[in-house]
Amino acid sequence: MILSLVEVNTYYGTSHVLQDVSLGVAQGDVVALLGRNGVGKTTTLRTIMGLTPPATGGILFNGREVRAEPPWNKAKMGLAYMPDDLRIFSDLTCEENLDIAAYLVKRKGYWDKKKVMDLFPVLAERRGQKGLNMSGGEKKMLSLARALMSNPSVVLLDEASEGLAPMIVRSLAEAIGTIRSHGMTILLADQNLKFCRRVCDRGYIIEKGQIVHEGGMEEIWQDQEVVNKYLAL
């Protein structure tokens, strides 16, 4: 396991959001974290990244206990994060948003500005545009591309497919295939079961802050009972 959580508990103030969450992501896998709105997917990713540190439990990354590390150290160790609200720096241009990620964390690897622009050609067209003036879809690609710029070993993607037209979801799935083919490990928090089936190997289902099911992605897809109980709207 390149990344594992061991009985992690996270609070927002007094509200106990993550309750003994344990999960593991193997090197090179694409793993889904599935669940309805408000069950704790985003909180799990934020906890891993160190933005909302857990109260108790362990987070192992590359065999190291990183629970207490601040986010900037985790970024340097090779974790990257695409938040659900994308968080493009609105005052910086598209290109500067990419450059800054590569500047802040210098890790060797496949990805660089040219490679991410090949992956998402629209970013090359918009390179001089301020983040402020980019569309939702463009921002999503930029946020994902920015996460790749540091050549992380694990990327955390929050709601990657949300709000995209079906055709764009398909090309995003292809892009994720390309990204994994270059050796990256991906943890994907998503509500779109079809999309996850297309890109993920395994999945965890979270409900009210607890992991309630885990299994192969195809197996989850087939399991009507689990889908109806935890995922159907």
Binding site: M49, L51, P70, P71, W72, A75, K76, A80, Y81, P83, R87, F89, S90, D91, L92, E96, D99, I100, A101, Y103, L104, V105, R146, S150
Partner: protein
């Protein structure tokens, strides 16, 4: 008439550039850290006193005072940010105001203890102490120097923020500190750096004021900080461009006010602020809400 207007304009410009020097640090700190630093006026005052002390102990050389004096104030700024201010970033504005205001009182009293409550006479500047004739009337050379320094500082700040890596990281951290941290920016260090740099700008303003104000008094920061606040507010809190423009306008307005409507001098400044805020509550270049 022309001669008089040109001179009033020049006086206004130099006054405006002065306010800008103080407002720039205030604005930078607010823009990046989101903290309204009341103690900025105290840093201005400390800048003046340290500059004075350094120059007096180094053979009355103003330039040495101006270079080394503000560095002492930077150390003070570091101490304030690292051990106090850092712990109130996540609290509401009133707590930040209370803390920084406490530092105003503390520094005022420290200055009284160290330098005494009385005023210290200030020196003239070698090379810039005289006057030059402009349209047949004398104008202080030092004021011309200030008029030149203001835009230089503005240009330097602009270039540093827009054209350097440190500047891009600062802009990123100021627009979204959490995302910047997730991308690997050591945000607390950046904040300390920006605060110390903002402190240096305020102290530089104070150092430059030494020959300008003629007298150093404890509490000399208060008058300046009020004008700098006005300028920062009408320019749009956090906007350096706005602060520069605001400082020019306030400088000119108060210079014309002093010349033509002497009784209404300060009044004009505040009327202008009220009008600007009625027209655009966020100031010239401010964002609609923060």
């Amino acid at each position: 008439m022309l001669q008089s207007i040109v001179h009033v304009c020049l006086a206004g410009l130099s006054q405006g550039m002065f306010i800008w020097l103080v407002a720039s640090g205030l604005t930078l700190i607010f823009g990046v850290l989101g903290v309204l630093n009341f103690a900025h006026g105290a840093f201005y005052m400390l800048g003046a006193y340290f500059c004075y002390t350094v120059l007096a102990s180094l053979g009355d050389n103003f330039w040495l005072g101006l270079i080394f004096g503000p560095l002492f104030v930077c150390a003070v700024g570091y101490f304030v940010e690292r051990y106090f201010l850092r712990y109130v970033y996540h609290l509401d504005l009133p707590y930040q105001l209370l803390l920084t205001f406490a530092f105003v009182l503390i520094f005022d009293d420290l200055v009284k203890i160290v330098w005494g409550a009385g005023s210290i006479g200030s020196p003239t500047v070698p090379g810039l102490g005289g006057s030059v004739s402009i349209l047949g009337r004398m104008f202080p050379t030092y004021s011309l120097f200030i008029i030149a320094v203001g835009p230089l500082v503005a240009l330097g700040l602009w270039a540093a923020l827009e054209r350097t890596w440190a500047g891009r990281v600062i802009r990123a951290a100021s627009s979204d500190r959490e995302m910047a941290a997730a991308l690997g920016a050591k945000v607390p260090l950046i904040f300390t750096g920006v605060f110390v740099f903002g402190t240096w700008l305020g102290a530089l303003g104070g150092g430059l004021a030494v020959p300008y104000v003629g007298l150093l008094t404890p509490g000399m920061g208060e008058a300046v900080i009020i004008e700098a606040f006005v300028v920062a507010v009408i320019g749009g809190l956090g906007s350096l461009k706005g602060a520069f423009l605001g400082a020019l306008i306030i400088g000119l307005l108060s210079s014309f006010g002093t010349r033509f409507l002497p009784t209404f001098d300060m009044f004009l400044t505040f009327i202008l602020m009220a009008l600007v805020l009625l027209w655009r509550p966020q100031g010239f270049f401010g964002e609609a809400s923060r």
